[in-house]
């Protein structure tokens, strides 16, 4: 790993206290990426979401969760039991000098502990307190449980995804809805922060993950009272291929007639010709007049046969390069192994090798979310171990004596 500590982040004078679980990791991660000093505050023993896989070398261990690693870079880590009175006192001390506090507890939880915005905002009037929940702090659904699949369902995003002979489906693996919520929370936090820098006033930011998932809007319903159906019809009149087989995988490509043909089909036919695979049926076909609504399966099959043959003679990488060269708007369906080989990402120096001394190895991480000219985003801190910075924060910064520190450890406050 190259020396990156010299780079100053845009938010380096500021501190964020990150009390979130998986619903909010990404929010603090972004502030940390931009240079803020983010303290990940975990319950003694570590965040429960450290139990989420995948795991480094498949070893189930809270210190080896790749899920946790992915969203807790650029943070320092301390443990603190905020349900205990001593823990609450310490949190209040930390709040005094913090700029942001991010939490994702159920609505009312922080208030019940005496740590609501009405209290913390008095301790530090400039504090930006960000609360991330599935449905928001108030309203009829505020106490509803909201795992990923439920929030997607209620956010309107899922109804049209999938195939029509099966239930609609979500994106697999870790919660995408929570990541959307984390992104929105960071946006809200920074808007509130901008305002604070102008006026000195803090803010309470109430983020709804359902609303984050609903950001795409519903123009079809609003303007035409249409409910879009699922993206992968299997019961329609025509079988139309959208995902094609290539030499080593799949490629997603759509064709259409009329005006769209000019943009999407003509360059493709030119490419086929350049490769010596032109098909006279396609070349002479009246694309201008072609209408999916009126055509027959026989026509579709005749159109698709040479296209399928064309795709089948190239690899994903060759098709991607061809799409770029011919300015065609389609991509192969990459999996994570393909992405790791991407020449474009290499050329942009995307990946970051991050040292994990505790594992005696280094791990390749996805790099910056954006390339920022003056103050590049880098991974300057690997994800913290459980309580790794307790000493630094409690003794060096808050000035607890070794005896006091030990007492807190013994009473399991930290």
């Amino acid at each position: 790993m190259t020396e990156k500590n010299a780079v100053e982040g845009m938010l380096s004078p500021y501190r964020a206290l990150d009390l979130t679980d998986e619903k909010g990791y990404l929010c603090g991660r972004l502030l940390g990426d931009l240079g803020a000093d983010v303290l990940k505050i975990e319950t003694p023993g570590g965040d429960p979401d450290r139990n989420q896989g995948p795991f480094y070398q498949d070893k189930v261990d809270p210190e080896k969760s790749l899920f946790w690693f992915a969203y807790n870079n650029n943070k320092r880590g301390i443990t603190l039991d905020i349900e205990k009175a001593e823990g609450q006192d310490i949190l209040k001390k930390l709040v005094k000098s913090a700029d942001f506090l991010i939490e994702s507890f159920p609505p009312g939880y922080m208030d019940r502990l005496g740590l609501g915005y009405s209290t913390l905002g008095k301790i530090n009037p400039g504090l930006i307190m960000v609360a991330i929940t599935p449905f928001g702090q108030t309203g009829p659904y505020k106490d509803f449980k909201g795992p990923d699949i439920v929030v997607w369902a209620m956010g309107g995003r899922m109804y049209s995804i999938g195939e029509d002979d099966r239930p609609p489906t979500r994106i697999s693996h870790h919660s995408q809805a929570y990541l959307q919520g984390g992104l929105e929370a960071a946006t809200g936090a920074m808007l509130a922060f901008y305002h604070r820098q102008m006026t000195g006033e803090g803010q309470y930011v109430d983020v709804s993950i359902q609303a984050a998932a609903a950001q795409q809007g519903n123009s079809a319903w609003d303007s035409r009272n249409i409910v879009p159906q699922r993206t992968m019809p299997t019961r329609s009149r025509l079988r139309i291929t959208r995902v094609w087989q290539c030499k080593d995988g799949k490629v997603s490509f759509g064709y259409a007639g009329g005006r769209m043909a000019e943009r999407f089909v003509k360059p493709f036919l030119q490419w086929m010709e350049n490769e010596g695979m032109a098909d006279s049926y396609l070349t002479n076909f009246d694309w201008e007049d072609f209408d999916m609504a009126k055509t027959t399966q026989a026509t579709i099959d005749r159109i698709e046969e040479p296209i399928a043959r064309f795709f089948a003679s190239f690899t994903k990488e060759e098709l991607l390069e061809g799409a770029v060269r011919n300015r065609m708007m389609f991509y192969p369906t990459f999996n994570t192994a393909d992405i790791l080989q991407s020449p474009q990402l290499d050329a942009r120096d995307y990946w970051e090798e991050v040292e994990h001394p505790e594992l005696k190895t280094s791990i390749l991480y996805p790099g910056a979310f954006a390339k920022i000219s003056g103050n590049p985003v880098t991974i300057s801190k690997r994800p913290p171990l459980i309580g790794e910075h307790n000493h630094e924060i409690y003794q060096q910064e808050l000035g607890l004596s070794p005896e006091e520190f030990k007492k807190l450890e013994e009473s399991k406050v930290i």
Partner: protein
Amino acid sequence: MAKKMLEGLKVADFTTVIAGPVITKPLAAYGATVLKIEGRNHLDLFRQGMVPPVGTDFPGPFNPWANRNPAGAFYNTGKLSISLNLAKAKGREIAKQFIMWADIVVENFAGGAMKRMGLGYEELKEIKPDLIMLSSCMQGQTGPHASHPGYGTQLVNLAGLSSIAGWPDREPAGIGPYTDYVAPRHSLVAILAALDYRRRTGKGQYIDMSQFESGLQLMAPLLLETATTGRVSEREGNYNPLAAPHGAYPCLPTRTDRYCVIAIYTDEEWKNFCYAMGNPEWTESPKFSTLQARRDNEEELDKLVEEWTIQFLPEDVVRRLREAEVWAGVLDNRDEWLNHQPQIKRQSPYTAPHGIYRCHPEYRWCAIAVTNDEEWQSFCRVIGDPAWTKESRFSTLHGRQENVEEMDRLIAEWTSSHTAEDVMAMMQAAGVAAGVLQTGEDLMEKDPQMAHRHFYWELQHPEIGRYRGVAPSFVFHEFPYELQRAPLMGEHNEYALKEFLGMSDEEIEELIREGVLE
């Protein structure tokens, strides 16, 4: 009324379609002045009808069609519009003046286009050193794919998101322009940080946003998995992956309730496991060589594993397996373990039931996710404790996972006789996570939570009529936002030229004559 939060902040917005306009939409909602600089030469796709009515020309800027695409009106709420011909030198000159006026410049042309128009950051920086500029495109401003144009609906393929959406036995599902809602949030966070940095240091910033790289942030755990194990995770429908072998296996002494627990996820673990068993001949069979094969032949596999474990005390099995770096544990109470397996929770939520269930009428659906045994009990009570829930194959998490298809069928028998709203209400009241699979109609007309948050704003548009915009997903306790309708094309030509650039009527007349305003 208090000042708006971002009053005084000025944005020159060259963006089109979704991934660009979504960046500046919240800024407009909170009071920033966002000027959409558009024109015939970079007509927003959403200023065009994808399918114009028969007999209309390709819609030009003053063609009424330019103002009638509801998507365009949706993504540009609260902005001002100037229609400027950037193909003309004078048009680019005026664009430059608006850049001088602005605090922030945002564009999402295909990589390199601003530069070709003489509006690249390097050039602009010379005349405005503290400029904050963000360029958002498919794959970034540099590298061999920099200038490749495209849309988010396609980019999700490149970013791996399609490969993990849909059913394992089917093609990847289309998920729409998902990355178009990821990059704008990253973009806005970076812009707001740059504003503060400029306030403190006087320095500007260029932000090169690759929507590809931004989208990969949401794939990070799986990228780390592939980078460290070489394994590639694929789509799983609404289920979660199983390991195989995976379960509790009986040990010595026989006729007691003593088991060892084994969970094998990877082929490497499988090899180690075979080694620990002394590589019996059956492990060589292709029936067990991959996870998929092991899952397909799970019954036979479990029997063979059992034949081995039954020869030892559980402690011995565990010792051997741990030496071979295979996860294993001793179990004294089989049911307890099967219902509580946090240590081997591989993906979240590792649960069953977990899916989308058909309700009444048949085009309505409800999501249900049961995450622990307590919730399973509540779930059973809600559906009236039918006999099947007591069957041993469904009474444990492990059993439910193994018989997931049959279980889902039985659950759907119940859900399909209830409305999705009733299923949600009954489940949530009992502490079980459930949610209606909502459509635009549900969200806009029925959802009381969205109404409570005043998420949808009814707006009046001169050409579209009544339409609805959406608020940000966060609310501030004090400072409200205000959503206003999107502008007509060129609606603020005169206003912006006079108020922001101080032009006279004569100068504006000339611009019209020269076709600079179009």
